[in-house]
């Protein structure tokens, strides 16, 4: 599982990651706690999955100014 802390554009982040499929890595939205969003992932390497999610968000037109954090949840 990975955790994404973001105050803004949470719906867009959920939609983006639910539809993301890169190098066989996929994400599925699990729950939201305050500013934290939790996603299940099929990736064995959570660091790689976190980095993939982070770059996917940053590459969005709305993502370049977003202040957010992505971290693996072990």
């Amino acid at each position: 599982m990975i955790e994404i802390s973001s105050a803004a554009y949470q719906d867009k982040i959920i939609e983006l990651l639910n539809n993301l499929n890169k190098d066989g890595i996929q994400f599925s939205y699990k729950e939201k706690k305050g500013i934290n969003l939790y996603f299940e992932t099929n990736a064995g390497d959570l660091e790689k999955a976190s980095s993939l999610a982070k770059s996917a968000i940053k590459n969005q037109p709305w993502g370049s100014v977003l202040y957010f954090r992505v971290s693996p949840v072990k």
Partner: protein, 471 residues
Amino acid sequence: MNALVAWLEKFFLPLASKIGGQKHLIALRDAFIGTLPATMAGSVAVMLNAILRDLPPQFIDGYDGTTIPVIKQIITINGYVWNGTLAIAGLIFVFSWGYNIAKAYGVNELSGGIVSTAASIAGITFSFTGGIKLKGLNLDPATIEAINKAGWAATPKEITATGWGWLPLNNLDANFFFTAMIIGFIATMIYVKLMLKDITIKLPDSVPPAISKAFASIIPATAALYVVAIFYWLFSLMVPDMTFLQWMQKTIAEPLLGLSQGFGAVVLTALFVQLFWFFGIHGPNVLAPILESVFGVAQLQNVNLFQKGGADLVISEGYNWVRGSFDAYAWFGGSGGTLVLILAILLFSKRKDYLTVGKLSVGPGIFNINEPIMFGLPIVLNPIMFIPFLLAPVVSVSIGYFATIWGLVNPVSQQVVWVTPPFLMSFLATGGDWRAPIVTLVAMVVSFLIWVPFVMAANKMDPSLGEEAEK
């Protein structure tokens, strides 16, 4: 809070995203960032000279680093580094600027950098004029003849020296930035548009890519440079006494930099950075055009003044508030001055969750990394943290600002890496002024007093408030 966030997402965030995602502003931000290898190397050289040459005399009577053989050589080496970096910071920037604009449009970046540099340099004067006019000067005819023969002009009372083939350094350093931003932009955009319209020389596929790429850029680059050259020519007809760079300095750069020195401008900038952070937007990214192209340029001016004449020259001719002043006096532990919040939590919080996050945040906080506390506490979108998160940095900025303009501390004149711990940061940033860490300490104590009541108030709140899971 949810309604506020929804409102922000609908009206405010799209605007912030537009500013932050605007390709020219991103190119401008990246152009400044791109110069960092040079400007940081130059700053290290200036700082080493500050430590070896300018700092010791404050504590050791009669110290003169330039008379100590080893130190004298190190100062000379640092001078070479400065020559190739901060002395020509504007020149380095203008290449980076053109390169990043071309990159944003997906055309040959190298040619973009070259066009931007060539177009901006084209307007710089290659000649110099100087002279001597002394009371009591009375040159004999033979001397006058010799001086006139050498190409200068002399009368019995005056010598006027002129020359051609010089690039004045004060046209290539921080003074160059505003001209470079405008001319570099116009020239590179002409080049980019012609490239995109495919008005290029096409060579057969058998020609190596490096050659065909360079050839493809010839027509767009030539057109861009001619447009700019015609502009310079028209400008010289309308304003014969000044180059475009001198005119830009006088009419735009100096007034703009002067405006940035007002208390209102400094406080508003600090306030907006905090506001953006609080609502989950990367403040310095959105405000990079102001932080880097105004306060950043002022900082480079100060660094160069320090290299030329030490802290005294910065005080007399430099800027009081520059990019690094925010880091030195307000953003200790990261934006928001969160290092003192961590301390307040460790001393006054009774909440287990706060104490856990506080302990985890100490290490990164010392190096001004505050993501753990910003998202762990969290501070972002946490109503109880809104007031101190905005107020503490504004008060800290005010303390640093007035301490500087009242002459209680030297202006920031060095570029210091942002992960430098707080007291060391302000000490180094001011070129080794021992009073700077004291100003930082005062700002920290006041910030601490602002944070404490809110940390104590949080003790009375339910830790699980707003944390309920939503599927």
